[in-house]
């Protein structure tokens, strides 16, 4: 049984001019595996992550997390095993970076000391313990990504989803973030990331989304007999 399994997932948007975001996408992920999906803009890569996280429902196909249909989990919460990294920090959720990590834990019934301890540990884990008392607006791009990862880690996910983890991040900081994601994978957390920058494919299983179709698995066999069509 795979940790995450997408089977023939399709998704379209729009009513008048229908745009296919995902077309018959199948993907399996195991614990501790890092998969990075490259795609151009509007290739469907963000849709893939939202569907894999349970935020969005597919039009067709099945998404299974730990063998269970993700969309049949009535009453269960997204955070149960799946962490989705949001890079935005709404001002309504607190002033300081630490507040943003704590609030979700408080909502789940954790006492403040435990929530604060877990939040600080997550910030330390991603290497920005010093940012706890800063405001999100004071973070640079790489720190904001790390804070987003830390926020997802507070829920101890088995699967971490992150959209464009290195966009806007400079070269050296980019490698630091990729190394962090790799290290999380080595600890057993499956990582599914999307990117429009091929350098971010380093160190993981790289796949490509093109017009909603997923490429990069084993290519189909070449036809042994190919009838050539020649115009007379």
């Amino acid at each position: 049984m795979s940790l995450l399994q997408l089977e023939h997932v399709s998704k379209c948007y729009g009513r008048v001019s229908e745009r296919v975001a995902l077309r018959d996408v199948s993907l399996r992920m195991e614990p501790g595996e890092m998969v990075v999906v490259w795609g151009m803009r509007r290739s469907g890569r963000s849709t893939l992550l939202r569907i894999a996280s349970g935020v969005e429902t597919p039009d067709a196909g099945v998404v299974r997390f730990e063998g269970r249909d993700l969309y049949a989990r009535h009453g269960e919460r997204l955070g149960d095993g799946i962490g989705y990294c949001r890079r935005t920090f709404a001002s309504s959720e607190g002033q300081l970076v630490l507040d943003h990590l704590i609030i979700g834990l408080l909502a789940r019934g954790l006492a403040l000391p435990q929530a604060a301890g877990r939040a600080r540990a997550a910030l330390e884990r991603v290497g920005i313990g010093y940012c706890a008392a800063l405001r999100p607006a004071q973070l640079d791009c790489a720190e904001a990504v790390r804070a987003a990862i830390a926020r997802a880690l507070t829920f101890a996910p088995k699967l971490l989803l992150i959209d464009e983890p290195t966009i806007g991040v400079d070269l050296l900081a980019r490698d630091g973030i990729l190394t962090l994601l790799r290290s999380l994978a080595q600890e057993g957390i499956a990582i599914l990331a999307s990117t429009g920058e091929s350098p971010s494919l380093s160190g993981g299983r790289a796949l490509m989304l093109s017009e909603g179709e997923l490429h990069g698995g084993r290519p189909r066999e070449l036809a042994t007999v190919v009838p050539l069509r020649r115009s007379a």
């Binding site: 050296l172 091929s198 494919l201």
Partner: protein, 203 residues
């Protein structure tokens, strides 16, 4: 205006018989990096060019060193052929360094030409777009595998000095940035041939 006279360069290593072997050039590069003796060069070669070039055997290094010396690209460092087991060390000559530089420039043009050639040859499948799509699928797969295998942190691995780890950083970033261009091209080519295939399926 008088025609420019043809100058035939008769120095070893130049003129009508250029050195073709990629292994020879790679060994010359290693000697330029740091003077070495034969066995040490073989070891450095295995480490530096793993997955890119292969030696047929350690003894081939000695053959290559003879060739490089004959072409005046390297020279034996005086006084290193001593002791019970003499290990003559070699260093690059100014001729060798200049030839190596010219080789890199020529190779760069060849790489660019090869990319154009691939694109042009793929266009031969305009009437057979499914076959082109098979090729593109495999090209994409190879690029994705290459991308996934590229080590992380090469650019941050500064080491003790600027030169430390330079080769691995340059190779790593070259791979990553070349893919930065190739993947969108693959995406584009796939769209082109899919459109051709779709057009042919229409009645």
């Amino acid at each position: 205006m008088s025609a420019r006279p043809v100058v035939v360069d008769k120095r070893p290593g130049r003129g009508a018989n250029p050195m073709q072997s990629a292994v020879h050039w790679a060994l010359l590069g290693l000697v330029i990096e740091r003077p070495s003796y034969g066995y040490e060069l073989a070891q450095r070669f295995e480490h530096a060019y793993a997955g890119m070039l292969q030696l047929s055997g350690v003894s081939y290094v000695y053959t290559a060193l003879d060739t490089l010396q004959y072409r005046s690209m390297i020279e034996e460092i005086p006084g290193t052929r001593t002791g019970r087991q003499p290990k003559p060390r070699y260093r690059a000559t100014s001729e060798g360094v200049r030839s190596y530089q010219e080789r890199l420039i020529a190779q760069m043009h060849e790489d660019l030409r090869r990319s154009r050639l691939f694109a042009r040859q793929l266009a031969a499948f305009a009437q057979e777009p499914e076959m082109a799509l098979d090729v593109i699928e495999r090209y994409g797969q190879a690029c994705l595998e290459e991308a996934g295998e590229t080590p992380v942190l090469a650019s941050a691995d500064g080491g003790a000095s600027p030169a430390s780890g330079l080769a691995s950083r340059l190779v790593s970033e070259e791979r990553r940035l070349a893919l930065e261009a190739r993947l969108p091209w693959i995406d584009y080519a796939r769209r082109e041939f899919k459109a051709l295939a779709a057009g042919r399926m229409q009645p």
